[in-house]
Symmetry: C2
Amino acid sequence: MFSTVAVNGEVTRWEDVRLHDFAQGFFFGAGFFTTFRIDEGTPLFLARHLARLSASISAFPSAVRAPPAELLREEAVRDTLRRCLDADAALGPRFTGVGKLAASDGKLLLTLRPPSPDAERLQREGRAVDSTELGAYRHGEPTPNHKGLSYFRQYTLMASMPLLANERGHACELPTANLFALIDDQLVTPPLEAPCLPGIIRQVLLDAGNLNGMPVVEQDLPLARLAEARACVFTNSAVLVTGVTRLLGRDLPDSLSLAEHLRAHVLRVAAREG
Amino acid sequence: MFSTVAVNGEVTRWEDVRLHDFAQGFFFGAGFFTTFRIDEGTPLFLARHLARLSASISAFPSAVRAPPAELLREEAVRDTLRRCLDADAALGPRFTGVGKLAASDGKLLLTLRPPSPDAERLQREGRAVDSTELGAYRHGEPTPNHKGLSYFRQYTLMASMPLLANERGHACELPTANLFALIDDQLVTPPLEAPCLPGIIRQVLLDAGNLNGMPVVEQDLPLARLAEARACVFTNSAVLVTGVTRLLGRDLPDSLSLAEHLRAHVLRVAAREG
């Protein structure tokens, strides 16, 4: 993480931020965050990230003190980001990396980090997903629909990256990514009730409706049905789309080209949305 | 909360503690805490609190960086507490209130607050528990067995204090307290797999085995069975034992005397354990 951060739009040093100002976020995980990619100074899908963050804050009005509404507006965040990049020679106006907005205690914290160290390798080589965490979620539970500071369940699983499933044996998501499987010529992703995060890239793909003749749909995804998948990818805002080259022991070499194809679509939409 | 706190045994000011030093605790809820009562300068059941905190830390060795082991020893915490009380005229060596130890990022934070403002009223009048949150937990899920900084689920429910139940319709706990119901002349509390927190006061009562001729037992507690309860209490470390004077719409006037009786036992054990 870089030392230059912003609290409620004010550029400061990470070392100078007080725990005191984020106490409910720390003690109770009472807050939300969102992580977004920055390409050469431009944040990707910022409006969508802010809409989701604001929706989560609005869903828990008594538990999380909201930052001032004007600070959650797209132009305000773009301006804050610009001032952070300008203030730090290690960043600069053409910075490429990852931004994170965390909201708690009536404050909005912007932090910045370099690109995921394994992003390029993931893009080139994909990765295997060979284990499941059955019953990690309960069907319909609402918490995973929000990217909350109470992130421990997912955090403990980040390194092993199992496929999280609910008590019905339906796939939900990965600890930090949504899942898409190509089954019967449809690109299938679990519904929000599985539950899973309403991921930004997930929604960009769903918005397309149809990609290269493949309908993109939300459907219950029993683990057994994944045996029929011809290809599989996971999506998140930092790496966008990653091919799952082996899924639960079965090689899926076509996942890499599917990932490349979907990534190109996502980047086109990002450019259009500016 | 008082301004005098301690980080890794060093007395400092809350305003001077840096978020930087508790970053994984804040961003991911990757840490644990415990809250204990302090009566006239003496922490109650401190050894038990530290044993549970250490057990939670040990259960997640890769996700939570443990504070130095020697800081988690009872004598070290007693010494830190003593120096905090001595350092602040608003506290003093005969301080009565609530202490909190939070562990994350290789650090141990001790904070202090006044007694719960409603503690005396709760002791005198008890309180009603009239709503349930069905499916709040999933039977057997491990997270509620640890008092973690990812506390949002419980935090959002603190004000309304519903009875949390699992998907089987079995009672688990309250957002910040364990539950005991007097049924068939037994004092029944849900098992840890319900799930619930292994609360310190809960364990003190279970350790007794039998109180005034009433066996104290862990048993599945279907919500329907609560209709047979003759009295009911909830327990936590700050208020110890609180009578539930109305449970899901049914008046239980005997809960107050049961609470008083159990509280006296808890205080006797506390005095013995020093």
